[in-house]
Amino acid sequence: MINKIIKGPNRIIKWIDDRFPLTSFVKHELTGYPTPRNLSYWWNFGFLAGFVLVLQVVTGIFLAMHYKADVAQSFDSIQHIMRDVNYGWLLRYMHSTGASAFFLVIYIHMARTLYYGSYRAPRELMWWTGQGLLLLLMATAFMGYLLPWGQMSFWGATVITNLFRATPFIGEQVVVWLRGDYTVGDATLTRFFALHFLFPFLIIGAVVVHLVALHTVKSSNPSGIDLAAKDNIPFHPYFTIKDFFGLGVFLLVFSVFVFFIPNSLIEPANNIPANPMVTPNHIVPEWYFLPFYAILRSVPNMVGGVVAMGLSVMMFAFMPFLDRSRIPGGAHFRPIFRVQFYLFLLDMLVLGYIGYIPPTSQSILIGQIATLCYFGSFFVIPFISIAEERWLHKRGLPPEVEALIASEAHELSKFPHRRRKGDIE
């Protein structure tokens, strides 16, 4: 009886398998994909980022069915969505909250990578594709923010497009070219809408590359070494269920924002239609850009500020070169690096705060110090990580770490191509 029931689907699957590697794909990427069993909940955030990406694409497409990219109609069409469209308020609040959720999840994902040193060999390409994804995400969020055509949309886009005045020789032309007008206008709005619709699909493409790289090098784990085969478990069902549970927790937090405090993430000034004749007293970017904005404001020279801001986002990409320590586990077994990590987070918070408040001579000074600390923490990594390694060896590594290093050396003997210069043979 049961045989009869499952025979039908089996035949279909066989038919597909003869033409497409369905079963082997599922086996290779899901039911047989080896995942370190010691992953903590900090490893949930990649999946969450993927979920938020899908959520943003879906809500975005439904919003686009009602939105009008036209300076005379944009603001009204948002109000039409908020007031008249069935559940339009829900779609819009999910999308606007989703933008913040996306950055929150990605920043946690990055912080985890930094803390555990997951960017180290052989995962450099994952880190760099991730860096590319961050840039795409920032561009998408920035262009999406213009679409409601509120005061903050308009002036944010004005300020950010003006950054390109720092381009050597042809700065003015580049700015006009970006806007398609002398100021941010109808042409700017329409192209931002087109690109805001396109970029998520580029992001999806980059995510595929990110995942292909992941499935080549496999997940890192809190121990900081590649585990022996016996310490790996199949992704499905262990991590599918763990990811779903994490998703439930995420959705709870997300729903609190969407249903109860959605306007905490929307600047009041953006509820005033864009007015090119009046700048709001206090323009601030969205919270996720604040630290970088503070760096921009800290440099007195315009070109210097733009370069510093661009560099501040790109600095992360250098991490695989900067951090040469061979102590496993990132910050976990490295006390100095750990302190450095938390100081860096603190510095980000200070920068964010400075980016938020209106500039005063005092706040600019604090911002400049924090900016120096920001770049400084990257520059000192090569020296500190090597000094720390020497100090740790001199002091004697904890037996736990010794065991990990020995086990890694054993694993590396099986995969010589992963060996780095100076590794224990």
């Binding site: 069993r37 478990i233 069902p237 709870l252 729903s255 924002f257 405090i261 509820n271 705060y353 938020y356």
Partner: protein, 215 residues
């Protein structure tokens, strides 16, 4: 009749701590969400504000749907269509001549100011007479709007209390106008969060079950 908390100063900064030192603290008010209060507010607004200010995202039909007395709405709309927005009675040109600027649309006013409903409330009641006999506003000294409620000339406590009630009703109406789906949003929110609590607990148990297979 549920009272909703308006938390004007709650802005969640995820990367930064709260920063709001420079702004004077506003009296935290709670807006009324009952039909009666919103209707009183609409009454006051049609008398005191509507001659200069529009509410272009609110149609007369929205007032009917919300449950405001139909006779009143008929009186307000006159021969305008039920689907007409609450346009101001003053043309932009006339406004420019009298005030030097077009009075802002009020549909989103409680969302468009830092401090929200509390700001609008404090602003309406913020008029006072300077020693030189000029009327000014504590919150917004350069405002072009006259003291429509007449708070600056009122000294008697009972009358001041009455004006406070009036301002409170107007703000309640404006809060509804800025976010007519708020009640629906909260109601749906409770269901969604209740559901997610159940689902997440279930997933937690399933996760433990599945992971218990591992030695």
């Amino acid at each position: 009749m549920r009272r909703l908390m308006i938390k004007p100063l709650v802005v969640l900064m995820m990367t930064t701590s709260l920063a709001w030192a420079s702004e004077a603290a506003l009296e935290n008010i709670q807006v009324e969400t009952s039909v009666a209060a919103v209707e009183r507010g609409a009454d006051n607004l049609m008398n005191d504000c509507h001659s200069c200010h529009s509410l272009k995202y609110i149609k007369y039909r929205d007032l009917v749907t919300f449950g405001i007395d139909k006779k009143k709405i008929e009186a307000w709309r006159g021969d305008q269509a039920l689907d007409a927005p609450l346009a101001s009675l003053m043309t932009d040109d006339a406004a420019m001549q009298s005030f030097g600027k077009v009075p802002p649309d009020l549909s989103l006013m409680t969302r468009a100011r830092e401090g929200g409903a509390s700001y609008v409330y404090a602003y309406l009641l913020g008029y006072y007479n300077t020693p030189d006999g000029v009327t000014s506003n504590h919150l917004f000294p350069e405002t072009k709007m006259p003291d429509v409620l007449g708070i600056s000339g009122t000294t008697e406590p009972a009358q001041r209390a009455e004006l406070q009630g009036k301002a409170h009703d107007i703000v309640s109406f404006l809060a509804w106008a800025a976010d007519p789906h708020e009640e629906e949003r909260y109601r749906l929110g409770y269901y969604v969060i209740g559901y997610l609590l159940i689902l997440t607990s279930l997933l937690y148990f399933v996760k433990n079950q599945i992971w218990s297979r591992l030695k």
